[in-house]
């Protein structure tokens, strides 16, 4: 069965690009283009959630909180995929249970595919906050 990914990303150009590349790599992708939609669409069928931070309606931190409070979604690995590199925001997200952080700007879509692989192989995979390039 194909792995199922929820992409919560508001920027149209970027979400279209990531959707394409994820689909090309045989993932099933569902797109949410704001925070509220992300919370609404999330359910236990997903293997991974890619979450932007600066989102309309409900910011990524609040989305993360809700997803981690929901018994159906709390065990799905969540990776922040954002261009916001603020250390305290990312640290807060890790404290809330985010397992990874990727800076959109510093990777190509192909690199995104590489970076998400470990999370799909092992849902408890955790990136080290200390190793991250933060503002």
């Amino acid at each position: 069965m194909n792995k199922k990914i929820l992409l919560i990303e508001d920027d149209y150009f970027i979400n279209q690009l990531y959707m394409k590349i994820l689909k090309d790599n045989d993932f099933e992708v569902i797109l949410a283009s704001d925070g509220e939609e992300g919370v609404r669409l999330a359910d236990k069928s997903f293997n991974l959630i890619l979450l932007d931070i600066m989102l309309p309606k409900l910011d990524g931190i609040k989305v993360l909180k809700k997803l981690k409070e929901n018994p159906d979604t709390k065990n799905i690995p969540i990776i922040l995929v954002t261009n916001l590199g603020q250390k305290d925001v990312v640290k807060q997200a890790f404290d809330l249970g985010a397992q990874g952080y990727l800076l959109k700007m510093s990777m190509t879509p192909y690199q995104l595919i590489e970076k998400i692989k470990p999370f799909l192989e092992d849902p408890s995979f955790q990136m080290d906050l200390k190793e991250l390039d933060l503002d």
Binding site: L17, K20, L84, M105
Partner: protein, 394 residues
């Protein structure tokens, strides 16, 4: 749209004693009132903060456009409705009863009610955060006026604050987003159409791609400078295998050196190098900047040597990048590590750069309690070196 003029007139007219025979005086008075209330209405509608007036029963009699916008409800929908049905205000999740602002005791002097950072929710499900001020309308009982509530919408401010975003973070985010698109689409476009381009097209696409990377670097450099200047650029160090880091970074630049046909070598340290307390990501920038400069400012066929050694008194590790490039004129050396400095003529020669690399490298080295310097002779080449202290405990 609503009409305050009419509304206020309706209420104001109550102050005119109801009588069957209308005297000319009264008609005049009415016209005057109408005029005044029209003016008032216009003034109220021009106020950018939401203003809501209630009668003595807590029913809405005035609701300006800003209030409509905040609540998502039109004046028509809320007119004569009880405020409690339209808008709920909360502080620390406890509802603030809005009718408490209206007192039946007309003689008492009700203090102005003022509360900041109150959460609101309208019956249209609009929510946010406001600062609230409510005043009883003095002497308003005759005109059946209760109180006037002024709200100041701070929703956006709050969400901004919640993220503690400063200008630089915002700028970073806004600049990075379109650049991410350019970079992303370009890489997918180029890889999906590999082999289909003419040589010219390949050259153009490569130049677009290099320029995009330069712009991304520039954005990051400018952000770093801004952080340095505001004192929020800090390092958090952990015990690190420096030799390994240099090796990895060296390897990352091997391709660029090869393209320029440079002899590119990493000299193994002759004595063991202890682990150092470093902020890995930051310190990598220093060695990267020196390597990128050495490659950029050394003509094809030149040599680049990277070495790591202990300082003579063994209290620090010295890393050097030596090149056989154009070198640096003596008079330029004192300015080399200041921001935006470039040796003159560089731009005309078509080499790209902003003059930030060495400045940032110096700052990062200083934050690690190290030093950075250069030995150079114009025409012969340059050796950039920096020292990193060895912690006594190590």
């Amino acid at each position: 749209m609503f009409n305050f003029g009419k509304l206020l007139f309706k209420n104001s007219s109550k102050t005119v004693p109801a009588t069957d025979k209308k005297t000319a005086e009264q008609t005049n008075e009415k016209a005057e009132l109408c005029d005044t209330s029209n003016k008032l209405a216009l003034i109220l509608s021009a106020i950018s903060d939401p203003v809501i007036a209630l009668d003595s029963n807590g029913k809405i009699i005035l609701f300006n456009p800003a209030a409509e916008k905040l609540t998502g409800a039109t004046f028509q929908e809320v007119q004569n409705q009880s405020i409690t049905q339209i808008l709920k205000l909360y502080q620390d999740n406890i509802e603030i009863p809005l009718t408490q602002f209206i007192t039946t005791d007309k003689t008492s002097d009700v203090p102005t009610f003022k509360k900041d950072e109150v959460k609101f929710m309208s019956f249209k499900n609009k929510q946010g955060v406001v600062n609230l001020i409510s005043n009883q309308i003095k002497g308003g009982d005759k005109a059946d006026l209760g109180c006037i509530i002024t709200l100041h919408d701070i929703t956006e401010l709050k969400s901004f604050e919640a993220m503690k975003l400063d200008f630089v973070s915002m700028a970073a985010h806004e600049l990075r987003t379109p650049l991410t698109s350019i970079k992303g689409y370009l890489s997918v476009f180029m890889s999906e159409n590999k082999g289909k381009f003419t040589d010219d097209q390949n050259t153009f696409l490569t130049r677009i791609s290099i320029s995009t990377e330069q712009l991304l670097d520039l954005v990051e450099n400018l952000l770093n400078v801004s952080k340095i200047e505001r004192g929020i650029f800090n390092v958090s160090t952990v015990s690190t295998d420096w030799v390994e880091i240099v090796k990895q970074t060296f390897d990352q630049f091997a391709e660029r050196a090869k393209e320029k046909n440079l002899e590119y070598t990493l000299i193994k340290p002759t004595s063991p190098i202890p682990k150092l307390m470093l902020d890995k990501l930051r310190i990598v920038e220093v060695i990267s900047n020196l390597l990128s400069n050495a490659i950029a400012y050394t003509p094809p066929g030149g040599k680049i040597k990277v070495s790591i050694k202990l300082s003579p008194d063994k209290d620090s590790v010295i890393t050097s990048v030596a090149d056989t490039g154009e070198g640096i004129p003596k008079e330029a050396i004192p300015h080399l590590f200041t921001k935006f400095f470039r040796v003159s003529g560089k731009l005309e020669q078509g080499s790209k750069g902003t003059g930030l690399g060495l400045y940032i490298s110096k700052e990062i080295t200083l934050m690690h309690h190290g030093k950075i310097w250069v030995d150079s002779e114009a025409g012969k080449g340059s050796t950039f070196s920096f020292s990193l202290p060895i912690e006594p405990s190590n």
